[in-house]
Symmetry: C2
Subunit: 253 residues, 2 copies
DNA sequence: TCGCGCGCTTGATCGGGGTCAAGGCGGGGC
DNA sequence: GCCCCGCCTTGACCCCGATCAAGCGCGCGA
């Protein structure tokens, strides 16, 4: 069980994951990992959910999946590739809000204003599932698990967003960033302790509130102290525990 | 119409607010401002919503409404006073996540883990409404407006959280913080251009990622340049446009 | 093949704001 | 009244990381 799929040049293996006793599985059709469990499709209305889905793509590097100011009409699940979401302030500077890996949902926070609050840009070749939102919301009122999953994802995003504020030093921020990316890849069946930084250094810097030069320097320092090895955009962790120690300023437990 | 109520020493006047053509009103029973509209109670099930509510308090300064690690069982709406939410990292340092004014909802982000991820502490005498959460979620599946309002509030929190990251200089952060607080007070019927900082400088500093000394210095600089007047914890804006100019690094429109 | 440009790295300098330290101010308890 | 303690302010110093600048390597189009 578990099948593999090519994802932006990497091999992704989506295995069933057991963590709380249930048999979870990444659903390649709807990308609703923890809703689309092995409980049987009809029980939680996945047939209906799957009917809502349109597959879209591929988007090429730099293409927009949606743009700030577009009327909110759908949420998207990333199926392959990496997407960044960003805003442009009135001086024209870009502010990156997040990077989104396969299996993650984007656009959900637009419910707030009915307008997408940011751009979603492909960082490499990207495929997505599109969920028409009014239909998804209606489905959520009928299927509590889907409502709960939407709540859960929204509240998780809050945690992620507020977590970013606290890392103070450049080392802490970058260590936390790498560990976070790594954990998200791993949760989706990618090899542990190795990851691809699909975004340029300048995007990482922007996201972390640092200068690109600092990102470069810190990565070099991490490599010199044996924490990891950098080869262009590929990173392999040599001492994850040490890295975790550097990033220790993170959330309790 | 519009009634007044004493709120931690200030007079709050809750007037009906008309902004999108509907007659909105702050509902003093359920605190669900934009759900509890003048559309008539039965239409959106507010009788049921009101049945879920327990009033609680008063909490005294320093009291906890809930604590990190408590099992998630309810969300709370602040009715009077100011609440801060914070986490404690493993080195024992406090990290403040937000300040919550009357009419705002806290605890909703606990859905994510079923455990409150933070402490909620009264900064002055505080009263709250308590909504048993399983019941509220069930109600949300039956009443789409309530589901939508919960989505809306969650996604708004994301916006607020990610907004905090971007202000870079101390001046920008503090200006944005003051304008934000002021707008939230004003939206609830308090006098415009005046606000009370119910939290100590050290809490503001913590929240903004600054030192308390810096908060002090920047406030003084703002006062010296005629932007506002500080008297202890009371602040009155003298030049809101100028302050907005200082904080211009905020979201597009 | 060469040249160009972009992304990345490394070095040198500078400034915003943290930290340490020393008062002021005000309120509550006795 | 007094003192005490917590909050706030102001000053002096210094460090982290931004900025400026230069050079490197690689991919791509002509």
């Amino acid at each position: 069980m578990g099948y593999s799929e090519s994802t932006g040049g990497r091999k992704a293996v989506f295995n069933p994951i057991a963590d709380d006793g249930n048999e979870y599985k990444f659903c390649s059709t709807c990308a609703f990992g923890s809703v689309c469990v092995g409980h049987g499709v009809d029980k939680i209305g996945l047939t209906e959910l799957h009917c809502l889905v349109e597959h879209a793509g591929p988007f090429r590097t730099g293409d927009a999946i949606f743009r700030h100011g577009d009327r909110f009409s759908a949420v998207y699940a990333v199926r392959a590739g990496t997407v960044k979401t960003s805003q442009v302030d009135r001086e024209g500077r870009e502010l990156i809000l997040g990077f989104h890996l396969p299996g993650e949902l984007i656009g959900l926070n637009a419910i707030h204003t009915e307008i997408y609050p940011c751009d979603a840009i492909a960082l490499e070749t990207v495929e997505v599932c599109r969920f028409s939102f009014p239909a998804l919301a209606t489905l959520a009122t009928r299927i509590p698990q889907i409502q709960k999953e939407l709540f859960r994802r929204l509240s998780k995003d809050i945690g992620d967003a507020s977590q970013r504020i606290q890392e103070s030093t450049a080392d802490e921020r970058l260590a936390a960033f790498i560990l976070n990316l790594c954990a998200r890849y791993e949760a989706r069946g990618f090899a542990a302790n190795a990851l691809r930084l699909s975004m340029p250094r300048s995007d990482i810097a922007n996201y972390l509130g640092l200068a690109a030069e600092t990102v470069s320097r810190v990565l070099r320092r991490f490599q010199d102290s044996g924490l990891l090895v950098v080869e262009g955009r590929e990173v392999s962790l040599k001492n994850p525990a040490g890295l975790r120690e550097v990033a220790r300023n993170i959330l309790p437990d």
